[in-house]
Amino acid sequence: MDCKNAQTMLDGYLDEELDPLRNLEIEDHLHGCAPCSQSYSDRQVIRSGLKTDSFYFKAPTDLRKRIQRSVRQAAKAEAPASWLSWLRVAMPVAATALVVLMLVPFFAGPSSDELLTQEVVASHIRSLMVNHLADVPSTDEHTVKPWFNGKLDFSPPVDDLAKQGFPLIGGRLDYLNNRPVAALVYQSNKHVINVFVWPSNKTRQTSESIKAQQGYNVIRWTRSGMNFWVVSDLERNQLEKFVAMLKGQTPAT
């Protein structure tokens, strides 16, 4: 090892950061080289001088207290900050929601669904009152179905259910939900069943939902792109039986 190498390794040797092989090489060189040996002892002198207590500045005690206080303050500020900031966002939202919820009953009124149910029931009652049950009184589905041609922009499914105890007695045009609809009239003993049919703008099918209004049962569903509303004073389980049979005639798409 030459002096230049020894000088660059000297500090690693002093700091015991060299591998054992390098340590031996340095020791070997220092034995035979007075200037490098001198450099080494100078470094030792300086280092021992630096190792005295006066070179190490200890933190003042009040600094320790001050830091502890400010860190604790930061910790405190951090903790509520997270939910305070959340609150800042949430509060106006919650307040708005509360106001809206309180005002909804005053402004919203009945939903469109409720309105349509009322309309369907009213139409059913009217058909019984004014003796205008059928425009085409016929028990023959092959008479009733073609009758709608030219009167509607769709062709409603018409099936006679006489064998099942619900004979078809006719059909007529009606007006519901701001459009002309097909009304098919069935009978079960003395009870009249109105089936309103019109095309649905929804493609998905919905299963029946049942409502009772003014003593009438209303069952509705969507199938094969058609809305079906069935209304009658028939008992609920009887009407459900009718619906099951009607649906059995209409193939699902």
Partner: protein, 179 residues
């Protein structure tokens, strides 16, 4: 709950290294007042980033923050002394004239050594403080000062060589007897 335990963990693992933090800040800023500010700022930063501390060497982690805080401060407050003027090549060991005379340091000469250390460029000063005062390994020094391991040794060599030269110059000027 979460923050309570964070504070507790912080106070347990980081707060005990306040002396190390203050000592480094004191040597880098070269005055007590700024050192206290740097230490406090460093501790607040350390607390802020404490969630990111996953290691076991809390002292080295804290000292890296202290070092960065002090360097930012130096850049803002002591433009003339910044690292921009520091060049590894210019300060290479060949340029440091080695004094052939044997160095002897009496106990009342230590104040001169202190002055000499304060006079060193900050890049030299920090490796000496971290290695000789804080007694950290080269690996720890490399991580704190953000330099390669090999640079730690070469920088220490140059720093000590220059320290010796500065000290020798002072010792020569020293009046022989009293006032």
């Amino acid at each position: 709950m979460e923050d309570q335990s964070k504070l507790a963990r912080f106070e347990q693992s980081i707060l005990p290294h306040l002396d190390a933090a203050y000592n480094l800040a004191r040597w880098l800023t070269r005055n007590e007042h700024d050192a206290e500010d740097m230490a406090q700022e460093s501790y607040l930063r350390a607390f802020k980033f404490f969630d990111g501390f996953r290691g076991t060497d809390a002292r080295a982690w804290l000292l890296a923050i202290v070092r960065n805080t002090c360097y930012s401060w130096l850049q803002q407050n002591r433009r003339r002394e910044t690292m921009a003027s520091f060049d590894e090549e210019v300060h290479s060991i060949e340029n440091e004239a080695s004094n052939p005379a044997k160095l002897v340091l009496k106990s009342d000469d230590r104040e001169m050594l202190k002055e000499a250390l304060e006079e060193l460029p900050v890049e030299f000063r920090e490796v000496v403080v971290l290695r000789d005062l804080e007694e950290l390994s080269y690996k720890q020094v490399a991580e704190i000062a953000n330099i390669p391991l090999g640079t730690v040794m070469s920088r220490l060599a140059r720093a000590r060589e220059r320290l010796k030269r500065l000290l020798c110059a002072r010792l020569k000027e020293k009046p022989k007897d009293g006032l």
